[in-house]
Symmetry: C2
Subunit: 233 residues, 2 copies
């Protein structure tokens, strides 16, 4: 299967097309490698993404692939950057910071709900070399600063909201019966009743919990900002 033409910008400097009389071996680039990785992930999941599989997908030798990308972690960094590029940051600079944060959070969770195996990876993956990711964080940081957030609290606020988003994106993949108490209702009768009284099920239940938590978190952050500004004045 030929990799689809890349829609991502070429951020590697070493991707000028060259012809060497071997048209079956595509010139590798960050965009082509990322597109091939996403194709494998879409077909076989993140478990199927290996450097060997990536080389096969690109119809090249692993050694040639390693000339263009150092490791699977670097491939995942590129994939992360492609996913992050789909996240909507347009409300920052237009709407108040709290409204913009909610819109960003919904879009961020949606983007990673379909890439849940990437979540534990990106939670600890440095963003160096991920230009769309940097641009996303810049928009959020600008929005918080414009909304009055002190510079030294901006990253804590972003990390706090992001932790909630990533935890919630994992919850989207949880099976409907995750809170089934099974035969041990005796151990958790109050909990079991609450599970029974829950309004939504499956994806709808995850959506309800996310909405409840996100609005509470952002309301709480409004209070944190107000009291911080009052204290520091």
């Amino acid at each position: 299967m030929e990799p689809a033409p890349s829609a991502a910008p070429e951020t590697s400097g070493a991707s000028a097309p060259r012809r060497r009389g071997r048209p079956s071996q595509p010139v590798l680039s960050r965009g082509k490698i990322t597109t091939a990785a996403l194709a494998i992930i879409g077909r076989a999941g993140y478990e199927g993404l290996t450097m060997a599989a990536l080389a096969r997908e690109l119809k090249t030798a692993p050694s040639a692939l390693y000339n263009h990308v150092a490791s699977k972690d670097e491939v995942l960094n590129w994939v992360q950057d492609d996913v992050n590029d789909t996240i909507d940051t347009s409300a920052f600079g237009r709407d108040p910071w709290d409204v913009a944060l909610i819109r960003w959070a919904y879009s961020y969770r949606e983007a990673f709900a379909n890439h849940s195996p990437l979540i534990p990876v990106i939670a600890v993956l440095p963003i160096t070399g991920a230009p769309h990711t940097l641009e996303m964080y810049e928009r959020v940081a600008e929005g918080l600063r414009a909304g009055g957030w002190p510079e030294d609290l901006v990253i804590d606020a972003i990390v706090a909201v992001e932790s909630f988003i990533l935890g919630s994106a994992m919850d989207v993949s949880a099976p409907e019966w995750i809170f089934d108490v099974g035969e041990r209702r005796d151990l958790a009768p109050t909990f079991a009743d609450a599970v029974g009284a829950r309004r939504g099920r499956g994806r709808a239940a995850a959506d309800d919990a996310f909405a409840l938590g996100l609005h509470a978190l952002v309301a709480g952050l409004r209070g944190t900002l107000a009291s911080t500004l009052a204290t520091r004045r």
Copy 2:
């Protein structure tokens, strides 16, 4: 290496010691299997935990192991249950729900900060057959109900806080340089300045973000509860 004697209670009914003249083959039980799994995880990480490795650790044949546990997922469910048993729920029923929730969240994050590879697993792992987990959720549900939370919102509130905790527990493992903009400061100058102004580094930075987010989330939930009760009155 001999597995250490199990400190976990025997929750399987099939664990009465028997002697069959083959002392090198220990009688398998849920407690012994869980202890052996935790020993492997402590030594080789979650990647090292396979059913074959578990059988070797227990000095038994994989076929004998499969007589006592159905799958690696069931082993992980037992490990999850052991980790959850270390989480402090003692403040529920003693302190107000919001104070108790904060204490629970700190303890929960601490327990899983050392088991971060377990986080994406347990986020989607049903709790059926995990008695300590059920007992934990029962304490939390009781505390929320006693604090005035309507039954149909209890699970959403728990899931929201848990999503934040699990996302934050992943962040504990993040390297210090995760937000290093590298050579592309031009793409994110406001963000880079905020990273530079951040008070803590490494684990301290993760702790600051967690504290900021947790207190904001719980303050927001107080507001959610008050407005819900006002609306439904």
